[in-house]
């Protein structure tokens, strides 16, 4: 323990000494992908496209490597490391290289846990992130704009996300809504708890937690909420497709865009901004579900605009 504390103190000291010496523009960006293809590739494609457009700074070379090639990474303070996905983030956190690490496409809970476990929690300027999670205020704003009049928001939480309850309640209150939280201890009480919550709620807000929302449970959750004629707000496009009435989410390209802009704006000291929620987002609606529930929704574009205006103060 003492050993680690000593080491991190040493690192910090070294960094303080070194930084001014190497204070120069970035040499380049190295992107580490958790997995190839899919969303991971979409992030990096966008990132690369923006960085090669010669925006605020000079064009930056972007090198992309797979997670398994991570061993080849060496200390190189002139580089910025971008971890795409939780797997890459964990790998880079453990490596503890001197170059700053920006993690993207990661849930906030995963980032905080990784940072804590690797002693980088107090070092946001060198180990930062763009979360996948939308800020609560944005999600409650969606409820307010898309489903006016529905004030009782039912939220299911699993034991590992109980600490969110306070933040959720406060954010709901700020939006003029009431959060009603149901605790799910295990798979067996998911549906009973959901049914209880449905009796008290005007809308269900799905808060991502794989213990509650996964491929195995999505059917019974959506069928049950639909039978109770209560709309469910999802957190991803695939939930909207599956039957959630609406969701606000950031697609990989939007995360890539934000990451690129962040990199372009890096000051010469290459200190990263604090971990932050997604800046760009989209609203998806399932018009068929809305209609079947007898709810008239604005279209996606106008909801998007309303949320954008509402969230102007957030970032």
């Amino acid at each position: 323990m003492h050993y680690w504390r000593f080491l991190s103190a040493l690192c910090l000291t070294l960094a303080m000494f070194c930084l001014p010496l190497t204070a120069a523009a970035l040499d380049g960006v190295t992107v580490v992908l958790s997995e190839e293809g899919g969303a991971y590739a979409q992030v990096v494609d966008k990132l690369r496209a923006v960085l090669s457009q010669n925006g605020g700074t000079a064009r930056l070379p972007v090198k992309v490597i797979a997670l398994k090639e991570g061993d080849s990474l060496r200390a190189d303070p002139g580089q910025l490391l971008v971890a795409v996905g939780t797997g890459a983030m964990e790998e880079l956190a453990q490596k503890n290289l001197p170059q700053p690490v920006l993690s993207v496409l990661v849930p906030r809970a995963a980032f905080e846990k990784t940072a804590r476990q690797n002693g980088r929690y107090g070092d946001p300027r060198n180990f930062s992130a763009i979360y996948l999670d939308q800020p609560w205020a944005r999600q409650f704003a969606l409820i307010r704009h898309a489903l006016p009049g529905r004030t009782k928001v039912g939220i299911l939480l699993a034991p590992n996300s109980t600490e969110l309850a306070t933040a959720l309640s406060a954010a709901a209150k700020a939006a003029g809504l009431v959060a009603i939280v149901g605790m799910v201890e295990g798979e067996a009480d998911l549906l009973p708890e959901l049914k209880r919550l449905l009796g008290e709620s005007d809308v269900i807000l799905a808060v991502p937690d794989p213990l509650i929302y996964n491929r195995n449970t999505v059917q019974s959750i959506l069928l049950t909420t639909y039978r109770h004629q209560v709309p469910l707000l999802g957190f991803s496009p695939s939930y909207v497709k599956a039957g959630a009435i609406a969701a606000v989410f950031s697609v990989p390209e939007q995360i890539g865009q934000q990451a690129a802009e962040m990199i372009q704006r890096l000051a010469a000291d290459r200190r990263l901004p604090l971990p932050q929620p997604p800046r760009y987002f989209s609203v998806g609606i399932n018009a068929q579900v809305a209609r079947s529930l007898g709810i008239s929704l604005d279209d996606e574009a106008s909801l998007n605009n309303k949320l954008k205006r509402a969230s102007e103060g957030e970032l």
Binding site: T86, A109, K113, D209, Q219, S236, S238, S296
Partner: protein, 674 residues
């Protein structure tokens, strides 16, 4: 795959995972204010609160529906359910679907309600479309459509048990649901014994007591149903169903030429439904099912013909393949179109006088375009083309406009046409009994001349659907013109020309055989009946349904129907009295606290004289009640309920003055959901 990381954190996969389409377009129900017809929705709570014992009883809550516990002394002592009357034993002017499978019987038409493999506890919801709807549901969706949807297997996981006991009736239903994620299934088994109506029934018209012994309407219903839902991938879904319903049914009155009897029923079906979800909410579906209806039934003649017996059994297969495509050709439109083919293969020797089976083919093309002209105006245009072996090709159109003239308030105007294809019995009947004494002869009781046209309806309606803060209202004015109605009329096949005058100017087809019997066998057909397109009627009136929630825990549902029938054929068929002029239903349900809930349901049904030469029955009132106590048991929920039907022991007749429903009847029901 989504996975919980150690210590409860998780990766981005929870955001990125593809999910199967759960609430697909064909699973979503259309809101009542956008439907092109009047719709009554019966949900699970309503079924439970109604205290219904039989499926058929639930429909008493639908405005305009006439329900009778028995349909008298005909093919089966089954319930009759008919919309807008023209009430007869088989209600064959209405289509009935269970998960898209037609349970409309090919024999006499109509539905044998007790023979459907379906447990009440497995029903998710019932949509009753009040009005013709051929464009969506095909021919025989003549006066209305009953569309029953069972619960998805993902929603019936775990163990469920329901036990009922009461005087003359008892039931046990057990369900188990398993699987997870992409594959879920459930199996429901049920056993029901039902002693039916009272033993002694006083006939006020004939002023005597019939049925000294127990009325021959006992039922033993054994059921097994299986449903499995499988997500092949995020776009493809497969639904498999299997069902069986069999057991003993008592039949007959012992007052006609045959002894009462017990028949053995064994029905089953298999269904496969594949759906592919397309982008932008579209869907392609292919459904195939096979249904099999079997009854082993022997008629034993009474003296002086003791010793004579006839095989009244039936074996009927239905094979049906349907393809349906739903998509949006443009932002403002949605098109549903498809086609289906069907084969009904029936072996029914006594009623068709053939020793081999009879094949009936049917093919359909259907389409409906829904066009949102403006945000507040929806136009539905649909049509169906059907070709069948009996009546050839027919095209039936429908057009409806729904105008949301102010938020929560909708006016609907629609015009639709529909046909009803003659049933096998109407078109092909040759029901004869060879009697050896005094000299051999064929006694022909029914002989179909053939050459029937389909019955036709032109229906025009104006409807209003309104949503107030605690009140849902639905009002409908309708005007239905029915023509070419098929009904029985005297016809002597042994001497066709002696039957004159033929009904309604009917001209005999050229090649009607005369003296239809084997050599040395005489022909007796003086009281024989044939089927003819000899009726027409106009039904007009209004219907209303209200649903009021004065508080979170109270629900009041009221239905009213007023209908007047006029017909020029009063001498042949009493169409004008075959619909009750006024009927009301009222259901009040309230939950007192987390444990106690209760409901009270009342019906007033006007005087009716059903078709088929039966006596008139008077108007009646009846009240049912239910009191339930919910409790926790271990991990699950339980409910103990006392249901009392006919609380005030009203004595009345339904359908015919020989059918007196049981007086006050009570039973206890225990449900456990673990």
């Amino acid at each position: 795959m989504a996975s919980a990381g150690e210590n409860g954190t998780f990766s981005e996969s929870v955001y990125l995972d593809e999910m199967p389409v759960v609430l697909s377009v064909s699973r979503l129900s259309q809101p009542v204010d956008e439907a092109p017809a009047a719709v009554t929705i019966i949900d699970r709570k309503m079924i439970r609160d109604s205290g219904a014992w039989d499926l058929a009883e639930i429909f008493r809550l639908v405005p305009g529906m006439y329900v009778a516990y028995h349909a008298s002394n005909v093919y089966t002592t089954n319930s009759t359910v008919s919309y807008h009357g023209l009430s007869d034993a088989y209600a064959h002017r209405m289509q009935v679907l269970v998960d898209g499978r037609s349970v409309y019987s090919p024999l006499f038409g109509g539905v044998l309600w007790d023979d459907i493999p379906l447990a009440l506890d497995d029903i998710e919801r019932i949509e009753v479309i009040r009005g013709p709807n051929s464009a969506s549901y095909g021919a025989n969706s003549f006066l209305g459509v009953i569309n029953i949807t069972t619960r998805h297997s993902a929603e019936t996981q775990g163990k469920f048990l329901s036990l009922s006991t009461g005087r003359g009736r008892g039931e046990a239903v057990a369900r188990y649901g398993g699987g997870d994620g992409d594959f879920t299934w459930r199996m429901t088994a049920g056993l029901r014994n039902d002693a039916g109506e009272e033993a002694r029934i006083f006939d006020p018209i004939k002023n005597d007591t019939k049925h000294e012994a127990n009325k021959q309407d006992d039922k033993r219903i054994r059921q097994l149903t299986l449903r499995a839902d499988y997500h092949l991938d995020v776009r493809d879904e497969l639904e498999l169903q299997f069902g069986y319903n069999g057991g003993m049914r008592e039949e007959g009155f012992g007052t006609d030429s045959f002894y009462t009897r017990q028949k053995q029923v064994a029905n089953n079906f298999q269904l496969v439904h594949w759906r592919r979800h397309l982008d932008a909410g579209g869907e392609v579906g292919v459904q195939f099912y096979h249904g099999y209806e079997e009854s082993r039934d022997t008629l034993y003649a009474m003296p002086p013909y003791t010793g004579l017996s006839f095989n009244a059994g039936v074996e009927a297969h239905r094979y049906d393949l349907e393809v349906q495509h739903i998509f949006s050709p443009s932002e403002a439109t949605r098109l549903v179109w498809g086609g289906s083919v069907r084969l009904d293969r029936t072996y029914w020797p006594l009623y068709l006088n053939r020793q081999n089976s009879f094949d009936f083919h049917l093919a359909r093309l259907f389409g409906n375009l829904e066009w949102r002209v403006k945000p507040e105006v929806v136009v539905n245009m649909g049509a169906m083309a059907e070709n069948n072996d009996f009546t050839g090709t027919d095209v039936t159109p429908r057009v409806a406009v729904n105008w949301h003239f102010s938020p929560g308030h909708t006016l609907r105007a629609s015009h639709s046409r529909a046909t009803r294809t003659p049933t096998l019995y109407e078109q092909e009947a040759d029901n004869r009994y060879r009697v050896p004494l005094p000299a051999p002869y064929d006694w022909i009781v029914r002989y179909a001349v053939g050459g029937l046209k389909p019955e036709r309806i032109k229906s025009t309606e104006i409807g209003y659907v309104g949503k107030f803060s605690r009140l849902d209202a639905d009002f409908r004015l309708f005007h239905d013109e029915l023509s070419d109605l098929i009904s029985p009329h005297n016809y002597n096949p042994c001497n066709p020309t002696g039957t004159l005058p033929m009904p309604g100017g009917f001209v005999l087809p050229p090649n009607v055989p005369v003296g239809l019997t084997a050599p040395g066998v005489a022909c007796y057909g003086v009281d024989s009946l044939g089927s003819f397109n000899n009726g027409s009627a106009v039904i007009k009136g209004f219907e209303m349904q209200l649903q009021w929630r004065p508080g979170e825990r109270t629900r009041l549902i009221y239905g009213l129907s007023h209908a007047i029938v006029s017909s020029p054929n009063e001498n042949e068929q009493p169409y004008t009295n075959s619909v009750p002029t006024n009927s009301h239903s009222l259901m009040l349900a309230h939950s007192f606290d987390a444990h106690w809930s209760g409901s009270l349901t009342g019906y007033h049904v006007g005087e009716v004289r059903a078709l088929g030469g039966v006596q008139k029955v008077d108007a009646y009132e009846r009240w049912d009640g239910r009191l339930a106590y919910r409790f926790r048991s271990g991990n699950g929920n339980g409910e103990l309920a006392l249901v009392v039907q006919n609380l005030f022991d009203a004595r009345y007749f339904e359908y015919e003055a020989v059918n007196q429903p049981p007086g006050r009847t009570a039973w206890l029901n225990l449900k456990l959901d673990i």
